[in-house]
């Protein structure tokens, strides 16, 4: 079952122990949240304007005390206004959604425990991940303001 921001808000309101989506980061691509888990994949979510950008990291799901290096991929929905390149080949994400807007991700957590900061590299399509994308903790993260928004700057990746 998908855990959503609504669940997060409810958990936070109840003062529950750290759980999915209790983790959020400030990055140069905007705010990012730990949105969900599917199988062994953890899913990070952020928005490029109105377009949801999800990052799928294999092996991170359920891992809150032994974090290190993980690989994965990112996707943006097909026909949703993505500003990323159209790849020659489409992929199917863990939800079964098919898209030509995707790329590879390498991520290194700076601390083994929860919550943790990370340094990642991302790329488009098959290219080796090379663009720096770093996540830093943000204790004052405004979940209520998180969501689709007007595009800010031209897409760089």
């Amino acid at each position: 079952m998908r855990n959503t921001l609504c669940l997060t808000a409810a958990l936070l309101a109840l003062g529950a122990a750290p759980a999915l989506a209790d983790e959020a980061w400030v990055t140069d691509l905007g705010p990012v949240i730990y949105e969900d888990e599917i199988g062994e994949y953890a899913i990070f979510l952020h928005y490029d304007g109105a377009v949801a950008h999800r990052t799928y990291l294999r092996g991170l799901a359920g891992n809150f005390d032994n974090r290190g290096h993980f690989t994965g991929y990112w996707t943006e929905q097909e026909n949703a206004g993505s500003r990323t390149p159209v790849c020659d080949v489409a992929i199917a994400d863990e939800n079964g959604n098919i898209t030509h807007h995707w790329g590879r991700v390498e991520i290194d957590f700076l601390q083994p425990g929860f919550p943790g900061e990370w340094n990642a590299r991302i790329g488009n399509c098959f290219e080796a991940p090379a663009r720096i994308w770093n996540g830093r903790l943000d204790d004052s993260f405004d979940y209520s303001g998180f969501g689709p928004h007007e595009p800010a700057t031209p897409k760089g990746h």
Binding site: R58, T71, Y73, D88, V89, A90, I91, A92, D93, I98, R104, F126, A128
Partner: protein, 157 residues
């Protein structure tokens, strides 16, 4: 629309001028034939040495350029319903004909000389890994298309 090997046979029977459907090569992974164009991609086909599964190699940008020297990036696929020669990748891709498979890899393909059928040198890999296994094709003017087609029809499922 798929252009079958029989099209090549018909063309040969009519002593047509060299066309993509006539092209076949001897390679270190066994005989390879040009199968079809899928959009802007040339599709090559061969049987994998281990399992005998049908492997198809998609080379975007090569359609119409097979007789011209150049370097192209692409991918190979084997059907999820076949006895694949490789482990399933973490992520499924959708090839240019709309087939979904978790058995795929990347290809770097170099057309060595101008003219048809050109020799080629390629590097192949599994899933996202950088292509590093050599795969070379050289002209095979005595190619037995009928035997190839018989094997294709009886290839393991």
């Amino acid at each position: 629309m798929r252009v079958k090997i029989c099209t090549a046979l018909a063309a040969l029977a009519m002593t047509a001028a060299p066309a993509f459907g006539d092209a076949a090569w001897t390679s270190n992974l066994g005989p390879v034939v040009y199968d079809v164009d899928a959009g802007n991609a040339v599709v090559l086909m061969h049987f994998t040495p281990g399992s005998g599964a049908v492997r198809r190699t998609f080379l975007p940008g090569l359609a119409g350029n097979l007789g011209h020297r150049g370097t192209y990036s692409g991918y190979w696929v084997e059907g999820d319903d076949t006895v694949s020669s490789t482990p399933a990748c973490d992520v499924s891709i959708i090839d240019a004909e709309g087939n979904v498979t978790a058995h795929w890899g990347r290809v770097e393909f170099v057309v060595v000389n101008d003219g048809l059928p050109s020799a080629w040198d390629a590097q192949i890999g599994n899933c996202f890994e950088t292509p590093a296994t050599s795969w070379s094709g050289r002209d095979n003017g005595d190619f037995d298309y009928e035997a190839f087609e018989r094997r294709r029809n009886g290839s393991p499922k």
